[in-house]
């Protein structure tokens, strides 16, 4: 019988206890021991950004962090991004603008984007590109993701923001 480690931490705003094999990564603990499968994996070697979660508000690669290191920390996954039934503005704009095609990388992008907008409510396109440069997406070419971040940022600032027509219909 394996010896399990036992930790308590705050997960998506809730006090959480979990027991798991001590060598497991946070990614594995979230997916396998807490059934939060919204956090995805693309390489499990820290190469693709897909498994990104927020730990104490900072984006980290959950495949490179041991579950043990989460003791006493505040962890946020994609499942904790919406406020109750109300989607986060980023979740709304990612869905509405087609920023999620296959959707496999989306949880990671969404959490990195949330971190970005918290620190920088009005990022330029170049700042968005820089912030998202650790996350790979093979579907979108990133463009719809930038547009979704820009639209969500404007909504969160309470500004009226019209998406350029060409983003949806192409140029005339």
């Amino acid at each position: 019988m394996k010896q399990k480690a036992h930790i308590t931490f705050r997960l998506n705003g809730e006090q959480t206890e979990v027991a798991f094999a001590p060598h497991k990564t946070l990614l594995e603990v979230l997916r396998e021991d807490l059934n939060l499968t919204g956090t995805k994996h693309g390489c499990e070697l820290g190469e693709c950004g897909t498994c990104t979660v927020l730990v104490d508000g900072k984006s980290i690669l959950s495949c490179l962090m041991l579950g043990l290191e989460a003791e006493g920390r505040e962890v946020k996954t994609i499942e904790g991004m919406a406020e109750g039934a109300e989607l986060h503005p980023l979740q709304q704009t990612f869905a509405d603008l087609g920023a999620a095609q296959c959707g496999y990388c989306s949880p990671g992008f969404l959490l990195v984007a949330e971190e970005l907008l918290k620190n920088n409510p009005k990022p330029s396109r170049a700042e968005i590109q820089e912030a998202l440069s650790g996350n790979l997406c093979r579907c979108t070419g990133y463009i719809k993701i930038y547009e979704a971040v820009e639209l969500a940022a404007a909504k969160m600032r309470g500004e009226e923001y019209e998406l350029p027509r060409e983003a949806v219909y192409g140029l005339e």
């Binding site: 956090t39 995805k40 693309g42 693709c48 919406a82 959707g103 979108t140 070419g141 463009i143």
Partner: protein, 813 residues
């Protein structure tokens, strides 16, 4: 067909029906499925590229606590493969391994760690064999044979077709050019690693959840290999976390987990590691090409002889189709009156190649579009005009019997030329009078792609796509179809079309797809077939349901059927809109009159006029067209190429949802950019054929920092065969980008890079050659000497041909 101007849903940028689930972490991908008592599978793979298996001893693995089963090749002796002509794979190798990564044995254990430990306890004794590691070796070296089938030695397939007499074309030409190009192989790199879960129930039925693009073909392969009736097998394709063609074959891990579930009586899951995904591959074939083209002074093509040499890797996969595709679509953009195609695919000891976005056509398009640029320079013609002036006519038939319907390439060219301000940027061929500074350049290329393969993978006379609709008395609508959403939005397309015809909201509809027990067959998400084929099937099913509704409502309201309209969840009199019933009431009326309301629709592509052997690849209900202009910045000191912007126009026919079309165009440009500049599946240059970098870190793909700006134009030239006129967009827009970038590099610094990826090293080498007064070119210079068969000769339509090959005359003494 409904009139486009009165459309309420089609053509509008609705979000996808599954978009929110994907943004909140609710979408269940294959690896997210957990079943009670589930075991975990690990697959032992060959570490040698080519070897006979002498002995496998699994006793130590079986003795490990927590191990439930170990299986080897003898447990699954029946071969399979995606094409009927290439049934050359075994779920686990039986007597030999053919590449590093070939599966040898599989373990089912209580958890992944135990499975991994057990896998490493399996002892395999190999007898190494010499390897075949390149196109040249595949052509030249017959022994050892990788497979005991194929055309000869290590040549898997060799074809030669001639439409009209190309020599006559060359004799008429004012200029005949011969060029050689190389397109390196690359892989799909979906963000989701392949995963599968098998469940064997007490009635001895199997259910497999898998990240597959082609559940129907997996279903067929499982029935064959597991030797159980297909009716006892259920395959459910989970939403694919990216496919791009890489999840289109039946895979060994899918067979293996089913077998392990049958042996252990417990559910079994496998999730591949990223390294294993590189070995699954089935990606872009490396293709060497030689193109001989004759043209008149105005650039009109008089004849073309295209030769392609494909490195197929270790198995057949889609390779025979890929080989034909490298020769099929050269004729559908510019008029090619006489055309010869020779293609050869060799087996090598590498992961098998197959279909990647554009399947077999980006490689020839790359060569062709660069050669056209070279011809334009030699004839002092404008690279735009040489293309624009010789376009294939709409509603025509090409020399190789491809039936062209709508053809919007001219409009595409006009848009990107105007949008990019081409005329004030392109310097002409005179470098002394540049418009952009040295180092900055602009290039153009065009392309076309099929909207669905005209023929299914296995011969049959049944529809390629089926849709079933169920309407219930609460007003609920369920659409069922075998199609598989790989992120492109195929589930949403079904909902939009059914909602359009029934006058309801797309989000009112329950979409059930990709489940071989519940949904009618659709062949799968490949060949850009899904919108056109499922769309047409959905229209038929929905029109049939609509007919039942309006008959019942007409009777109730006393309004003639032709006066009834369906919109905004109502069925009403168009002349007196207040007279009507709700959609739910209409269903109740119809159910009361006709019984339970269910309808079906199906789609079979039109028959192709080509009847010659080999005519099965290339025909399609419609062809999409694209044109791209790339603007680049080339640093002559480092050789680094930065693609600053791509203007791309795509002839979509009609956008069912323009936002999703835009996403496919942008994604195609992105994937093309990766192939053009950095992505390559390459192997160490020794006899061991070891993949250089089976990891996401070292297999370079574009991040946000490398992705270029994209300016997109959607050209709507409705095609009569498309649903509402729609054509494909998932693959076609990738095609013009690599040659447009290569042509732009030439404009920027005056060197020709005739292969991809266009790396800094290659640019620098070409620049050094040029500075030494030699040919400023990087690329292959020759092709292997292949003993081509006598071509199969077909008279072209212009020559009065009937689409059949001419009788062979014995010419060999």
């Amino acid at each position: 067909m409904s009139k486009n101007e009165s459309l309420n849903i089609v053509g509008k940028p609705f979000r996808k029906v599954d978009a929110r689930a994907k943004c909140v972490g609710q979408t269940k991908f294959a690896d997210d499925i957990v079943l009670p008592r589930m075991l975990y599978c690990k697959i032992l793979r060959s570490h040698l590229p080519h070897a006979n298996i002498k002995r496998i001893d699994a006793s130590k693995a079986l003795a490990l606590p927590g191990v439930f089963a170990v299986i080897t090749g003898k447990d699954l002796p029946i071969p399979y493969g995606i094409l009927p002509v290439s049934q050359d794979e075994h779920a686990l190798c039986i007597d030999k391994v053919r590449f590093i990564g070939d599966p040898v044995a599989a373990v089912a254990a209580i958890d992944e760690d135990v499975a991994f430990d057990a896998m490493n306890l399996i002892e395999v004794e190999y007898e190494p064999l010499n390897t075949i590691s390149s196109i040249e070796e595949g052509v030249m070296v017959d022994e050892p044979r990788i497979h005991d089938y194929g055309d000869s030695g290590n040549i898997h397939k060799k074809v030669s077709l001639e439409f009209g007499e190309v020599e006559v074309g060359f004799a008429e030409a004012d200029l005949v050019r011969e060029d050689v190009f190389f397109y390196e192989g690359n892989t799909h790199l979906p963000m989701e690693q392949h995963a599968a879960v098998a469940h064997y129930d007490s009635d001895k039925k199997i259910t497999l959840w898998s990240s597959t693009q082609t559940p129907h073909y997996v279903h067929r392969a499982l029935a064959k290999v597991l030797e159980i009736p297909a009716s006892h097998i259920r395959v459910i394709a989970t939403p694919n976390g990216g496919g791009f063609g890489g999840k289109s074959d039946p895979f060994n891990h899918e067979v293996v987990v089913c077998k392990l579930a049958m042996i252990t009586g417990r559910p079994v899951k496998v999730t591949l590691t990223r390294e294993e995904v590189f070995y699954c591959h089935r990606g872009r074939h490396p293709v060497l090409m030689k193109i001989k083209t004759g043209v008149k002074k105005d650039g009109a093509i008089t004849g073309m002889h295209f030769q392609s040499f494909l490195d197929g890797g270790a198995y057949g996969s889609y390779g025979v189709a890929s080989t034909f595709y490298t020769g099929a679509l050269q004729t559908v953009t510019y008029n090619v009156p006489r055309y010869q195609f020779d293609g050869v695919r060799v087996f090598t000891n590498k992961p098998p190649c197959g279909p990647k976005r554009g399947h077999g056509t980006p490689q020839p398009r790359f060569g062709l579009e660069i050669q056209i640029d070279k011809i334009a320079e030699q004839l002092k013609l404008d690279p735009v005009a040489i293309r624009r002036n010789h376009l294939v006519e709409p509603n025509s038939t090409t020399a190789n019997y491809l039936r062209i319907g709508s053809m919007g390439l001219g409009k595409c060219i006009d848009k990107v030329v105007e949008g990019s301000d081409w005329k004030s940027k392109f310097s002409g061929w005179d470098q002394s009078n540049r418009k952009l500074p040295f180092g900055k350049g602009i290039g153009i290329a065009c392309s076309s792609y099929i909207c669905g393969a005209g023929l299914p993978i296995y011969w049959n006379n049944m529809p390629q796509s089926g849709v079933q609709l169920r309407l219930d008395r609460q007003g609920g609508v369920c659409v069922m179809c075998g199609s598989t959403d790989i992120g492109q939005g195929s589930d949403s397309i079904l909902a939009y079309i059914v909602a359009e015809i029934l006058g309801i909201d797309p989000f009112d509809i329950r979409v059930v797809t990709a489940d071989t027990d519940l949904t009618p067959v659709d062949l799968g998400s490949y060949s850009s077939r899904v919108t056109l084929m499922t769309g047409n099937a959905a229209i038929q099913a929905a029109e049939r349901a609509r007919e039942l509704l309006v008959m019942a409502v007409s009777e109730k309201l006393g309004v003639p059927i032709e006066n009834l309209s369906l919109a905004e969840r109502r069925v009403f009199d168009v002349e007196n809109p207040d007279t009507g019933v709700s959609f739910a009431e209409a269903v109740v009326l119809a159910e009361s009159k006709f019984g339970t309301i269910g309808t079906v629709g199906s789609y079979t592509p039109p028959r192709s006029p080509g009847k010659y052997k080999g005519s099965g690849v290339g025909p399609s209900p419609a062809y999409s067209y694209s044109a791209a202009v790339a603007e680049v910045d080339v640093d002559p000191d480092t050789g680094i190429v930065v693609v600053e912007r791509v203007w791309i126009a795509h002839d979509i026919g009609k956008s069912i949802n323009p936002m999703l079309v835009m996403g496919q165009v942008e994604g195609s440009v992105y994937m093309a950019l990766g192939e053009t500049l950095m992505e390559e599946m390459t192997y160490r240059a020794n006899r061991n054929v070891v993949h250089k970098f089976p990891s996401m870190l070292e297999y370079k793909s574009p991040t946000t920092l490398e992705m270029c700006d994209v300016k997109t134009y959607l050209i709507e030239d409705p095609d009569p065969n498309g649903p509402y006129g729609a054509k494909e967009v998932g693959q076609g827009p990738l095609l013009p980008v690599p040659p447009a970038v290569a042509n732009a590099v030439y404009d920027a610094v005056g060197v020709r890079i005739d292969e991809v990826p266009i790396t800094p090293e290659k640019v620098l080498k070409a620049l050094r050659e040029k500075s030494r007064g030699r040919d400023g070119r990087y690329g292959p210079v020759s092709v292997p000497n292949v003993d081509w068969p006598e071509p199969l000769r077909v008279l072209t339509p212009a020559e009065g041909g009937d689409g059949k090959e001419m009788p062979r005359i014995a010419v060999h003494s």
